[in-house]
Amino acid sequence: MTDTTQHKGARLAAAPAPAFGVRVWDPLVRMIHWSVAAGVLVNAAIVDEESATHELIGYAVLGLVLTRLVWGLVGTPHARFSAFPPNPAAAVRHLAGLLRRPHRAYLSHNPAGALMVYNLWAVLIGLAATGYMMGTPRYFGMEWVLDVHEGLFAWLIISVVLHVAGVILDSRMTGVPLVRAMIDGRKRLRDPTEMRE
């Protein structure tokens, strides 16, 4: 009892600035994000790759990505492509400046994160397309289709590792817990005045 009062009091007295969460990711973005992650995980690690379940999950992930692409055109402000246009030059500048400047927080994706997002979408669509082709009479048994599918899968795993590393790095440098933002949709910026798209 004493402890809680003390804790509460100390917090109230110490900081007038509550970490204010800005609503960034709407529920559709979050649901698609975690469903795609789960789908990739299940398809990569759990189900048999020749099974019907593997195909079904693959198509479901494709559907999720396509829905997200539509949402990128007509969705909420932070979910739109216009909030994080692909800009390789800015991404390189962002990465090069990582260790030098005080780091900047973005409301949507940072330039490097934005490129990763487009990369992941492209890879997932490629995987679904080659996966579909393998099942068609025209391409059935063709070695190169399987090779492309497997090559894309390897690149997907590398991308996922980079994506997770980037999220951890950015969270540390900006102090904005990004994973939490993808769960409850709010980005808690240390300094609300520093927020930008």
């Binding site: 003390q6 009091g9 100390a10 204010f20 609503r23 529920p27 649901m31 559907g63 999720l64």
Partner: protein, 174 residues
């Protein structure tokens, strides 16, 4: 305030429901559409009733998705408007407190104590947090009430409540 908070949580639930339905519809639409395209690739034409119905169902589903997406966007934009209003109210309250304390010419420690009184802490808790004797806090409170011209804690708080309620009108531009 509470009314706003409940309408926000209602909107939040609504947004989650909308997103779930959008996803479900999108996956169903893809399934139907895939089936139609698959059949087309095999036969090369849409001739039987079954396919027409499937094609129609896909179109209806996709139309529904866009409708729901527009609704979701509206709910989300309402939520951020509400957020901004709350934020403004919070900032306004801080400004009001600051202005009153300045008017009364409170000393820095009286400001601290006054703030904690407003946040609902009792003298013992304030003394513990500030590491002073409860008697000191009592004396500081008396000084604050004297400067504010009120006869106690409840009256002090009601001063700010009045200001806040008067300001409430500004939060609802008609």
């Amino acid at each position: 305030m509470t009314e706003k908070a409940t309408s926000a949580s209602r909107d939040e639930r609504r947004a989650i429901g909308l997103a779930a339905v959008i996803l479900l519809q999108a996956l169903t639409a893809l399934f139907f559409l895939g089936d139609v395209i698959f059949d087309l690739l095999q036969d090369g034409l849409i001739d039987d009733l079954h396919m027409w119905i499937e094609a129609l169902a896909s179109i209806a589903l996709i139309g529904g998705i866009f409708f729901l997406m527009r609704e979701l966007r509206r709910v989300m934009s309402r939520l951020s408007t509400l957020d901004r209003a709350m934020q403004a109210a919070r900032g306004e309250m801080a400004d009001v407190v600051e202005a009153f304390f300045g008017d009364w010419e409170l000393t820095p420690s009286e400001r601290d104590v006054g703030l904690m009184v407003l946040k609902g802490l009792d003298n013992d808790a304030i003394a513990r947090i500030r590491g002073t004797a409860p008697g000191t806090v009592r004396a500081q409170c008396t000084a604050i009430y004297g400067k504010a011209g009120v006869d106690g804690r409840a009256q002090l708080i009601s001063l700010f409540m009045e200001e806040l309620l008067a300001g409430e009108a500004n939060l609802h531009p008609a």
